[in-house]
Each structure stands twice: as structure tokens, then as C-alpha cells.
């Protein structure tokens, strides 16, 4: 596994950002020349104080938002050169999402939710894999349930199963444990870690919680839209210490 310094981009990266700038409404510089790569099979946490641009980084990296300047390559595709609906097709094929709000479709059952991206893509869903993923997140047998009938932790695990069911090259998480209590949050993180370790999945996760970041292989720090260093093999204490420095 190659861990790359934030200032360079390596060929093995699933997602790479080069000198990415994002300006909102002409004035607010959310990202200011960020260059960072995320290696295949790695688990990266993105941290920074409020307003440091971490969510913007995630949105740009995932093709949910287009950068004002610079280059984003996602699974070998130059995102900046793509427009909707091509962009959706690329996201659908290569990316899975887990958000703080679970973004499940209430009208559909757990099973239909999990298979929804592949149905939208018009591909034949890999039902065996979907069933296995659901079993691995501990929801085997709940296929017929509605999201509204599940607890928050269970809903997030459905979202995780949905993200994984399409065998994406990278999973993006935006505060995936933000709406969960400590122990359910820990379960979701353990699942993410497990998928990285056993299935060679790639995870990029924005969080503000040092304890959550400690599950990652590497933590990338952002401050005022710029990269502010990183930390390999983090522990909660070291992450917390860096965060204290950044906010000072």
C-alpha cells in the first residue's frame, strides 16, 4: 500500500485532486489550490475546523460539485470535462455515498433501496453480492422492511450496504456517524474499516470527530481551504492535538 504525501499525486490513486480551487458566489474561497490523492484500498479521513472546506473537498472529489479551477480525476475520468448526466453515470459506476442524513427512499423497501443505484444504471444487479453486503452490515432478513421502521444506526447501515452493493471503487462519507450515537457510530466505522481491509474498498470520509478519524489509515487536514498537513496511522489523541493546533 502506497501512502502518498498530500502534495503529490501517485498513479495508484483512485481519486486525485490537482490544484483544485472552488469559489462560491464569486467571493467565498472554499478551496484554494488543493492537491491531494487517495490511494486504492486506503481509508482516509478529512478533518478541519468548521468552514475549512472539507465538505467542499469531498463534493468536488466525488463529482457532486465541479471545481472552479484545477483538475479532479475520479477512477481515471477527468471530472471537470464531464457534464450531467454523464457525471451521474460515472458516479453511479464508481462511487458510493454515505451521508449524515441517510438519504434513503422512504417509499422503497430496504432491498429496493440497496439495489436502486444499479437499477438507475440499468445494469443487472448483483443480487448475491447485495445479499451478502446486507448480511455483513447485520441486516440479513430485513430486506422487506421500510427505512422508517429501522433505527438510525440500522438506516445508516442500509445506506452503507447500498454504497457497497455496486462494488464502487471509492466510498465517500460525509460525517457518516454524525447522526448516530457513540456505539452505533463505532459499529458503522468498524464496518467501513472491515470493507477496506477485506474487500480492498477505498474510503474517503469527512469527520470532525478525532475518535472517528482514528479508524482511518491517514488523516488529511484542511484549514481555510488549504491543505494543512496529514497524519499517517493516526490515533485519537494525536488527531485531537493537531486539531487544537489548527483551531488556535
Amino acid at each position: 500500500m502506497v501512502l502518498v504525501r498530500g502534495s503529490r499525486v501517485a498513479a495508484a490513486d483512485v481519486v486525485s485532486l490537482t490544484d483544485v480551487t472552488k469559489v462560491y458566489s464569486g467571493r467565498v474561497r472554499a478551496l484554494d489550490g488543493v492537491t491531494v490523492g487517495f490511494a486504492r484500498g486506503s481509508f482516509t479521513a478529512v478533518m478541519g475546523p468548521s468552514g475549512s472546506g472539507k465538505s467542499t473537498l469531498l463534493h468536488c472529489a466525488a463529482g457532486l460539485d465541479l471545481p472552479t479551477g484545477g483538475r479532479v480525476v475520479l477512477a481515471g475520468q477527468d471530472v471537470g470535462a464531464l457534464r450531467e448526466p454523464k457525471l451521474t453515470a460515472v458516479r453511479r459506476r464508481h462511487v458510493g455515498f454515505v451521508f449524515q442524513s441517510f438519504n434513503l427512499v422512504d417509499a422503497l423497501s430496504v432491498w429496493d433501496n440497496v439495489l436502486l443505484p444499479q437499477r438507475f444504471a440499468g445494469t443487472r444487479p448483483d443480487k448475491a453480492w447485495a445479499r451478502e453486503v446486507l448480511a455483513r452490515v447485520g441486516l440479513g432478513g430485513r430486506e422487506r422492511s421500510r427505512p422508517g421502521e429501522l433505527s438510525g444506526g440500522q438506516q445508516q447501515r442500509v445506506a452503507l450496504a447500498r454504497a457497497l452493493a455496486g462494488r464502487p471503487e471509492v466510498i465517500f462519507g460525509d460525517e457518516p456517524t454524525g447522526a448516530l450515537d457513540l456505539s452505533t457510530g463505532r459499529e458503522v466505522l468498524a464496518l467501513l474499516r472491515g470493507f477496506v481491509d477485506t474487500s480492498a474498498a477505498t474510503v474517503v470520509m469527512v469527520t470532525h470527530d478525532p475518535a472517528a478519524a482514528a479508524w482511518a489509515d491517514r488523516v488529511v487536514f484542511l484549514a481555510d481551504g488549504r491543505l494543512a498537513g496529514d497524519l499517517v496511522a493516526p490515533t485519537a489523541e494525536r488527531v485531537a492535538a493537531r486539531m487544537t493546533e489548527l483551531t488556535r
Binding site: H59, L64, D65, L66, R83, E84, P85, L87, T88, A89, R91, R92, F97, F99, S101, F102, N103, L104, V105, D106, A107, L108, D112, N113, L116, P117, Q118, R119, F120, A121, G122, R146, P147, G148, G152, Q155, R162, G166
Partner: protein, 826 residues
């Protein structure tokens, strides 16, 4: 506190209230518009008063008055009902002298008013704005007064005419009255007079001859100088009652004029009452739906306020404050818009002849205030209905991902639906829909069924949705998702489908019922006139004098004939006098008119007998041989023997009397149509082939369709509005679907399928409701069950409403989710 929050909430997010605002605006505008129209016809004066310049008018009663006394055990109830006559009874000729001799009377002028028709070489001379042309003796000219502009007063064989008729002194014109047609010379042109009637004056000594009346229709009285008005009135009253006449004073004097000369607002009152009823109902209905949707989309916010410590009562107050604010703001532009609507509709109705030409909209601030208050009451009560459940939302819902209102018991819904449904069944089952109340009652039962459908909403729509959504679901993944969404969110489907159901059911019922009436009428008309080989009507005047018509039917080539004289006859409907269209009929030779006699024999029709339509006979329980009492057009009370019951009454009349009897007692008394067998040479008579009554039916149909257009417009805007609200509230859901990998185009197609499901559900319900009402109405007309009269028109309506729904669904979807847009997060 809640006031402040409410104001802030509306001010900060006006967009969230745009839908409610628009609905409230339209509702208040329509309620105020139709309220103004109804108020204007109700308070419309009878136009100019020809008797304005005199003090008192003695005239026969212009209405039939019936008083019933019902002994209810503990109290005796006395009810008096009246019905206006269409003619004027003549007073005894010698009464003029008696009145003139009464102490205190200065002048007493006998006025004989009778309708006439003028033509120049067969071309009718018409007064502007469809004013009626009324003739008088020259001595009446002093009453108004009319002043000679050109020429001289008329001698025998001459007339003086109002300037508005556009005739010149010396011109020869033909004057047609019921006693005959005469060539006369215009001796003078007068100015003055009153709007709505054009005057023709004849020599006083020719009056009796021309009018066929035995005495004056009114005596205009001028008081002697210094006379005590009250004493004179009392003295005349005593005199007058002997001859069943009355003394008219003040504003009532105009009622002494010829009824046909005074504008009649009875038809307009029922039309505008109907408009107000429909718009009022649609406004309440649509507002309730819109407000419910708007409240539902704010459930999360309400739950948040609950967590912040708001009680349900406070939330209700908050919602109430907001809606009050929105309604008040909407009322400001709505009232002027309502005034404009009233003017536009009134203008159209004037053109169609559905209201008198001189009808004007009176903008009464009281009506506007009432409309504003009514609008506010409606929005507030709609809010309290919509908020009933929503405000009881538990605070913990704010923390949950999915927010749903508490599900109540089904019992109140079922009860709320059963009551109006039972009402509709009662109306359809008990009211004779074939009669004059048919149209109105059809609408009432339609409205009741809609209320039932709305109350039963989620249950009913859920059932239909379950079927329809599965059909759509078989069209692929998007169909499946759309199907699942509509099933899970059946309340949203209800909210959007019900206005569409309303739009279809109300308008289809009104249009189809109108079509059916027209179709049945045309059918009966055709059956009635089938035996005749020739049908003619006068071209120079509204009809032919009976004497001339008799010369036509006496032509040697005529082997059979039937001539009809239109009139109105008042019937005692259990203490309530009601007027019915009737015909005077004279038959000779072979049968030329087929009235579809079901009992008795029309050949026995004579001056002392009557034939009755099937529905009227059934309703009154009359059989051949019975002797009911009627009042003729001039108020003459007659008792006639029923000699026949007939079935082809539509477009004709409910009563058939002897032509001579009708001609003698109806002021117009002209033969409207002559039905002949044989091939006579009619040259020399001002006659042309004709279909009787067609123009009037067309006008009514046009007025009816205008009303449908107004209600279609309102309901269409409501539908579009509802779709926009429902779609706008789902941004969050759309972002989720985009994240799950849906492209914008896929979302559009998904939403189109949802709209399709909603539209189909709405149309199924709408067709069912209108089908029940139209079916019952149709059976009541002629025993045949129909879902529609004209299949193409019905299909067009289904397609039109369906298309509107689909477009109304598609457009907001494309506005909210732009084709090339990135997922809208947050």
C-alpha cells in the same frame, strides 16, 4: 409570540406561502366577483320608471299571491308566496272615471301598454340593446313625459315612435299586434322615455282595437294641489281592491308598467347564484387541499418548534396567524381583480342575452368586505382542518429522518364520507332531476360526492392507487419506483389528485348534463314535429297574429295544421305559485304535431280544457278528467279540465291550452310556429321555415358554457398550483435520489410516471363521480342511462384534464430538477 413568529415566518420565506397565496387570491377574487354579480342582479332596479313623473299608479296585481295556513297544533303558520306574472290584466274601463272623481285626484290618465312589433317591408325594426317595443295610447305620452321631436301626434292609422327606433316621419311601417297587422304611417318621432323600452304611440281611439284589451293596464294619478297623499291612497285602495287592483306608490310605481317591458332578472339571479355556489364550493375545496399540503410539507419545522417547547395550541395559533397574514395580503389584489372578473362576465352575459342589456355591475363595498371576510373564514377553517393532526406531531419526529403526521383513526373519515355520500344519494334519489331543479341538484350531488371522496381520500385513493401504480410499475424500474412512491405517499397523491378530480367531476357533470338536456330536447323536438311537412314562423315579427295564421291554415293545399302561441301559466305548487312555459294550440285536419300523448285525447282540447306534460302530471298527481286551477299570463284565474297527458314537452311547454284562450290573455299573444301538412303556397305571408325555440336554447347553452369556462379556469389553476406545491416540497427527496444514482432525466421520467398515476387516479374518481350524477340525471330525463351525450366531447374532456395534469406535473419537476444540474445537497 406566535404572532411575531408567524409574521417573521411569512416575511422570511414568502416562497413557501406562494401556493397558498395564489389559491387564496383566486378564491377571494372569484367569491367577490360572483358575489358582486349576484348582489347586482338582486338589487338591480327595474330600470327606468315610465311613471316617475306621476304620484300614484293604480294597476292590477302583477303577481299571483298564494297564502297557505298550516295548523301545527300549537301554532298556526301562515305562509305567503308570490310569482310574477308575464302579462298585465286590464282594469275596467270605467275605473278611470271613478278614480278621476276621487277627492284629491288631480289627473287620472288611462295607460294601455301592449307589446308590438314593427317592420319595414318585412324587415323587423329593432330597438337597440334588445329593448322591448311597447305601444301606448298617445295620451300616455304625457306621463313620462315623451316629447315630440319631429312631426305631429298620431291620428288613426298613424304612429309616433321613439327616436331610438331610427324611423323618420312619413315612413310607412307595418305594426303587428295580436289583433292583426296593419300598415301605418309614422306621424311623429318622440324623445324622452326610459332605457330598456322603446315606445310606440297610437291614436287613443285605436288602442282598444290594436291591443285587444278591454281597459287600461294602469291608471296614472297626479294629485290635486294640496291633496293629502295618504288620504288619496287610502281612498283609491278601497276602490281598487274591488277590481283586484292595487295602488302603487314610490319606487313600486314601476311595477304598474307592462311586465315584459321591465327588465327581468329572474334568470340572471339563478345563473349568478349558481356561479357563486360553484366558485364558493370550489374555493373551499381547493383551499383546504392547498393548505393541507402546505402544512404537511412543514411537518419537520413544526416538530422542531415542538422540541423548542411549543404546545399544539401554540402551533395552531402560529399556523392561523400565518394564513391570516397570507390571506389578508392576497385579498388586497384579489378584490380589484374580482371587480374586473365581474365586469368581464357581466359583459359576456349581456352579449349572450343571459342578462338584460342594461344590467350593470354595482360595486358595493359591503359585498367586497363580505367576500374578504368569507375568504378569510375559509382559509382559516381550511387551516384548522389541515392542522388538526399536524400540530399534534411529537417533538421526537424532528430528530427522525422521516417525518409523518400522526395517523388518526379511520372512523371519523368514514363517517365524514358517509354523511355527504348519503346526502348525494338522497338528492339523486328523491329530487325529480327531470324538472327545473335538475341541473342545480346535479351540481349539489356532485359536490357532495366530491366531499365524500375528499374525506375518504387516503383510503379511497390508496385503493385506486394500489391498482394503478402496479400497472404503471410494470413499465420498468422507474415505473416501479414511481409506483412504490405513490403507494407510500398516498396522502400526497390525495392532495394532488383531488383538485384534478374536482376539476373533472364538476365541469364534466355540468357540461354533460347540459349536453344531455340539449340532446333530449332536440330529440323530442324532432319527434314532435315529425308529422309536419312544413314548419314556418314569422320573419317580420316575433309571431303571426292569430287571424292571419288562421288564413294560412285555411289554404286549400293544407290538409292538416297545428299552430302554437307561446305563453306562461302559473300553477299552484302546494301553496307556492310557479310559472311554467305553456303553449296555446289549435289543431285542424290531419295530425301535424305529435305531442306524444300518453293518456286522453288532444282532440278534445277546447277553451275549458288543458293538456299536461307527463312530469308535471306525475308531480301534481293530475289525471285526465281532473280540474286544476291555473293563472293565465294576465292573472286571470281559470279552472280547466285535463284532457290529455303528453310526453314530448321539452323545448315546448308543460301545459297546452286552447290557442284562443292564450292569445286573449297573453299580452303578446302571437302564433310562434305553424306546423302544416300538405304543400301550400305561402308566398304573400311573411313566413319562413323555422325551428321553434332554438335561439333561446342556444343562448342558455352558451351562458352555461361560459360558466363552465370560468370554473374550468379556476380549477385548472388550482391543479397547476397544487402540483407545484407538492413538487417544490420534495427537493430533499430528489437530492437523495440523485445521490442514489438517478440522472436528472431519470428523475423527470420518474416524476412523470408519478404524475401519470396521480392523473389516472383522479380521472377514475372524477369519471365515477360524474358518472353517478350524470347517469341519474340522464335516467331522469328520458329513462336512458348515459355516461355522456357526445363521446368525442367526453373523451376530449378526459384527455384535456389528463393532459393538464401531466403538464402540471411535468413542468414543476423540470423547474425543481434542472436537466444539467448537479445534485442539490443540503
Amino acid at each position: 409570540m406566535m404572532l411575531k413568529l408567524g409574521v417573521a415566518s411569512v416575511r422570511r420565506r414568502p416562497g413557501a406561502f406562494a401556493g397558498t397565496f395564489l389559491t387564496a387570491f383566486l378564491a377571494v377574487a372569484l367569491i367577490s366577483g360572483s358575489g358582486l354579480l349576484l348582489h347586482s342582479v338582486l338589487t338591480a332596479g327595474p330600470g327606468g320608471d315610465r311613471f316617475a313623473a306621476v304620484d300614484l299608479v293604480v294597476a292590477a296585481d302583477r303577481s299571483v299571491e298564494l297564502t297557505t295556513t298550516r295548523d301545527k297544533g300549537d301554532e298556526v303558520k301562515v305562509k305567503t308566496k308570490t310569482e310574477r306574472l308575464t302579462g298585465a290584466g286590464a282594469l275596467p274601463a270605467e275605473l278611470v272615471g271613478v278614480v278621476a272623481a276621487t277627492p284629491g285626484v288631480g289627473t287620472a290618465v288611462a295607460d294601455v301598454a301592449f307589446p308590438v312589433a314593427l317592420d319595414v317591408d318585412g324587415t323587423p325594426v329593432r330597438a337597440p340593446e334588445r329593448a322591448s317595443v311597447v305601444a301606448h295610447g298617445w295620451s300616455s305620452a304625457s306621463l313620462t313625459p315623451y316629447v315630440l321631436r319631429d312631426g305631429v301626434a298620431p291620428a288613426a292609422g298613424e304612429v309616433a315612435v321613439g327616436a331610438e327606433l331610427g324611423l323618420a316621419v312619413g315612413q310607412a311601417v307595418r305594426l303587428t299586434t295580436k289583433t292583426g297587422a296593419r300598415e301605418v304611417r309614422v306621424a311623429g318621432v318622440v324623445t324622452g322615455g326610459v332605457p330598456g323600452q322603446a315606445a310606440v304611440f297610437v291614436a287613443d281611439r285605436q288602442v282598444t282595437d290594436l291591443s285587444g284589451l278591454t281597459g287600461p293596464t294602469a291608471i296614472a294619478v297626479g294629485l290635486a294641489p294640496g291633496a293629502d297623499r295618504r288620504q288619496v291612497v287610502a281612498a283609491l285602495d278601497e276602490l281598487a281592491t274591488l277590481d283586484s287592483a292595487r295602488v302603487h306608490t314610490g319606487a313600486d310605481k314601476v311595477n304598474g308598467d307592462l311586465p315584459g317591458a321591465v327588465p327581468d332578472y329572474v334568470g340572471a339571479i339563478s345563473i349568478f347564484g349558481f356561479v357563486l355556489g360553484i366558485t364558493g364550493f370550489a374555493a373551499v375545496f381547493v383551499l383546504t387541499g392547498t393548505v393541507s399540503l402546505a402544512v404537511r410539507q412543514r411537518l419537520r419545522e413544526l416538530a422542531l418548534l415542538r422540541t423548542a417547547g411549543a404546545t399544539p395550541r401554540q402551533l395552531r395559533r402560529l399556523l392561523g396567524t400565518e394564513i391570516t397574514l397570507v390571506t389578508v395580503v392576497a385579498t388586497v389584489p384579489a378584490l380589484p381583480f374580482g371587480v374586473v372578473v365581474a365586469h368581464v362576465v357581466a359583459g359576456r352575459f349581456r352579449e349572450l342575452g343571459a342578462v338584460p342589456a342594461q344590467f350593470a355591475v354595482a360595486v358595493d363595498p359591503v359585498v367586497l368586505i363580505a367576500a374578504a371576510v368569507l375568504g378569510l373564514l375559509v382559509t382559516r377553517s381550511a387551516t384548522s382542518v389541515a392542522a388538526r393532526r399536524a400540530v399534534r406531531i411529537s417533538p421526537t419526529q424532528a430528530l427522525r429522518e422521516t417525518v409523518t403526521a400522526a395517523r388518526g383513526s379511520r372512523v371519523p373519515r368514514v363517517v365524514g364520507a358517509a354523511v355527504p355520500a348519503a346526502g348525494a344519494v338522497a338528492v339523486l334519489g328523491l329530487v325529480p332531476l327531470g324538472g327545473p331543479l335538475g341541473m342545480g341538484m346535479g351540481f349539489v350531488s356532485c359536490a357532495l360526492l366530491l366531499c365524500a371522496a375528499a374525506a375518504l381520500g387516503p383510503i379511497l385513493v390508496g385503493g385506486v392507487t394500489a391498482v394503478v401504480s402496479r400497472l404503471v410499475g410494470s413499465t420498468g424500474v422507474l415505473g416501479r419506483v414511481a409506483g412504490a412512491m405513490t403507494r407510500a405517499e398516498s396522502r400526497r397523491v390525495v392532495g394532488v389528485a383531488i383538485p384534478l378530480t374536482l376539476m373533472f367531476a364538476i365541469n364534466a357533470t355540468m357540461l354533460v348534463n347540459g349536453d344531455i338536456t340539449a340532446e333530449v330536447t332536440a330529440g323530442q323536438q324532432a319527434a314532435r314535429t315529425a308529422p309536419a311537412t312544413v314548419q314556418v314562423a314569422a320573419t317580420n315579427a316575433p309571431g303571426l297574429p292569430l287571424a292571419i295564421a288562421e288564413r294560412v291554415v285555411a289554404l286549400p293545399a293544407v290538409t292538416g295544421s297545428a299552430l302554437t302561441v307561446g305563453t306562461k301559466v302559473v300553477v299552484d305548487q302546494e301553496g307556492k305559485p310557479e310559472d311554467y312555459p305553456a303553449q296555446g294550440l289549435r289543431l285542424a285536419g290531419e295530425r301535424a304535431l305529435d305531442l306524444g300523448v300518453t293518456a286522453g285525447d288532444l282532440a278534445r282540447l277546447a277553451a275549458d280544457s288543458v293538456a299536461v306534460s307527463g312530469p308535471l302530471a306525475a308531480q301534481r298527481g293530475w289525471e285526465v278528467g281532473d280540474r286544476p286551477t291555473f293563472w293565465l299570463a294576465d292573472g286571470t284565474r281559470v279552472t280547466l279540465t285535463v284532457v290529455a297527458v303528453f310526453s314530448h314537452w321539452r323545448g315546448f311547454g308543460d301545459l297546452v291550452l286552447d290557442a284562443g284562450l292564450v292569445a286573449a290573455h297573453d299580452p303578446r299573444g302571437l302564433v310562434g310556429a305553424i306546423h302544416l301538412r300538405g304543400a301550400p303556397d305561402l308566398a304573400g305571408f311573411p313566413l319562413a321555415p323555422a325551428e321553434a325555440g332554438a335561439a333561446e336554447v342556444r343562448n342558455q347553452q352558451a351562458a352555461w358554457e361560459l360558466m363552465v369556462a370560468v370554473s374550468l379556469g379556476f380549477t385548472a389553476i388550482a391543479v397547476v398550483n397544487t402540483f407545484a406545491i407538492a413538487t417544490g416540497a420534495r427537493r430533499r427527496e430528489f437530492a437523495g435520489l440523485r445521490l442514489a444514482g438517478a440522472t436528472s432525466r431519470q428523475l423527470h421520467r420518474l416524476l412523470d410516471r408519478e404524475a401519470l398515476i396521480t392523473v389516472v387516479v383522479a380521472l377514475v374518481l372524477g369519471c365515477a363521480i360524474s358518472g353517478v350524477v350524470v347517469g341519474a340525471f340522464s335516467v331522469a330525463q328520458d329513462g336512458r342511462w348515459r355516461l355522456f351525450a357526445d363521446p368525442l366531447r367526453y373523451l376530449g374532456m378526459v384527455a384535456g384534464v389528463g393532459l393538464l395534469g401531466l403538464v402540471a406535473g411535468a413542468v414543476p419537476a423540470r423547474v425543481v430538477v434542472r436537466l444539467r444540474s448537479l445534485p442539490q445537497l443540503g
